[in-house]
């Protein structure tokens, strides 16, 4: 369990980090290292140079901008979880974060690292897909922006530019209206990789009718996936409404079959978790005050 030898640098700016990444085709970014270091230890990854981005001040922090809630790529997951801004503005992300690893890994792991790794079971990635957050890279002198559906291509495969550096992710702000979020997953142990996960966000109007409904499924396909439950708009989100919408949304879903869980189990679990996440989001939205109330 010892990595192969590599060189290490810890630049203090995005420019210097990009220079270092461009200098060596086998260079890799290290942020929290909570996934990369095990891969190094097992020699599944053999970079020649590690570029540590965890002390680049521009990459750290959470702030509200005109376009949304900006989270620097090297912001620790624990800090995002403790953020009041995230809790209020991006409640779905706040619900997803406690499911990411456990306290010691969240203390080191970063929001950007989880996205860049592109694991189909990553909860933060699922939140970006559901909410349509934008993913920003610096590639040499250029800034490049991706939408999640163009970014996540397959298991740990993303559209990230070679030698590029993930700088930030921007989540849309809290929508108007009565907002609720739900996040549900099942794994063999708490904090383990999920067999299936589901996240949902609901907006209700003053009298409790659904205005918008968003749903996404993780761990069941090659990438975290947003699925269409727009048919729930206009309904009162009864159990039957939710069941029908989930059934339609998951029709034809491609499901992974592996050692950990069979395809049929994953499909059933995904449907059940989707239902639970939507119901959780509804309950939370109903608990918020109607704007006119």
């Amino acid at each position: 369990m010892k990595p192969v030898p590599f060189s290490y640098i810890r630049p203090d700016s995005v420019e210097k980090a990009c220079e270092a990444l461009a200098s060596d085709p086998d260079a890799r970014v290290i942020a929290g290292g909570q996934t990369l270091v095990p891969m190094l230890a097992m020699r599944l990854a053999r970079p020649t140079l590690l570029v540590d981005v965890t002390r680049i001040a521009n990459l750290i922090g959470i702030e509200e901008t005109d376009t949304g809630i900006k989270i620097g790529a090297a912001t620790r997951q624990a800090d995002a979880l403790a953020s009041d801004l995230v809790a209020y503005q991006v409640p779905l992300l706040a619900k997803a974060l406690p499911n990411v690893g456990h306290p010691p890994t969240r203390a080191r792991g970063t929001v950007g690292g989880s996205i860049a790794h592109g694991d189909p079971s990553a909860e933060i990635a699922l939140a970006t897909v559901i909410l349509g957050a934008s993913i920003h890279y610096r590639d040499g002198d250029e800034d490049v922006e991706f939408l999640p559906e163009d970014y996540f291509l397959g298991p740990t495969v993303t559209a990230a530019p070679t030698g590029g550096l993930l700088t930030k992710v921007v989540f849309p702000k809290r929508p108007e209206g009565r907002v609720g979020a739900g996040f549900q997953e099942i794994a063999s142990r708490r904090s383990d990789y999920a067999f299936a996960s589901a996240g949902a966000q609901i907006v209700l109007d003053e009298d409790g009718t659904c205005v918008t409904a968003l749903l996404g499924i993780g761990s069941v396909g090659d990438v975290p996936l947003a699925v269409d439950v727009s048919g729930l708009a206009g309904t009162r989100l009864s159990d039957a409404d939710i069941r029908d919408a989930v059934e339609t949304a998951l029709e034809g879903l491609e499901v992974v079959d592996d050692l950990h869980a069979s395809a049929s189990y994953r499909r059933r679990a995904a449907a059940r978790l989707a239902h639970m996440a939507l119901a959780e989001a509804k309950t939370e939205a109903l608990a918020t005050e109607g704007a006119a109330a």
Binding site: M1, K2, P3, V4, P5, F6, S7, Y8, R10, G33, Q34, V37, P38, L40, A41, M42, L50, D52, T54, A78, G101, H102, P103, P104, T105, A107, R108, R189, R190, S191
Partner: protein, 166 residues
Amino acid sequence: MKVELTVNGCKSEIDVEPRVTLLDALREELGLKGAHAGCEHGVCGACTVMVDGVAVRSCLMFAVQGDGLDITTIEGITRGEGELGIVQDAFCETHGLQCGYCTPGMIIAAQALLEKNPEPTDAEIREAISGNICRCTGYGQIIEAIRLAARHMRESNTLRARKFAE
């Protein structure tokens, strides 16, 4: 590569390859064998140490990344030479260990929890040690130990006094 580590309040400069984990540097370079090398790939939690007051896995960090950070190992939480810390005492009292392999990691995870949260619920205790595997105890007595340590810490004047002094 040279790096200055601050471990248990002492600064030492070591010269290690970048691929040397913080865990290996603590054990091999600094002779602190308290953090255990279990799985060495971030699964078991036996190597848990505190970095800037929070529990992290020392096998998932390279020593060169520890530059300028405040690192605390199990050796650093005792009350004095030849004495045990409050959490360590509680683990003995409730039989919160059998073979002892996971114990340093469990105790550091508990210590990090109790420094932030003096009155944790059982759910919070479980969450705090959810990254630490114990193959002997079945966890029941470990949770009991952390509950007891929390009570002792709340009741301890000296410990509170030390916190205020800091």
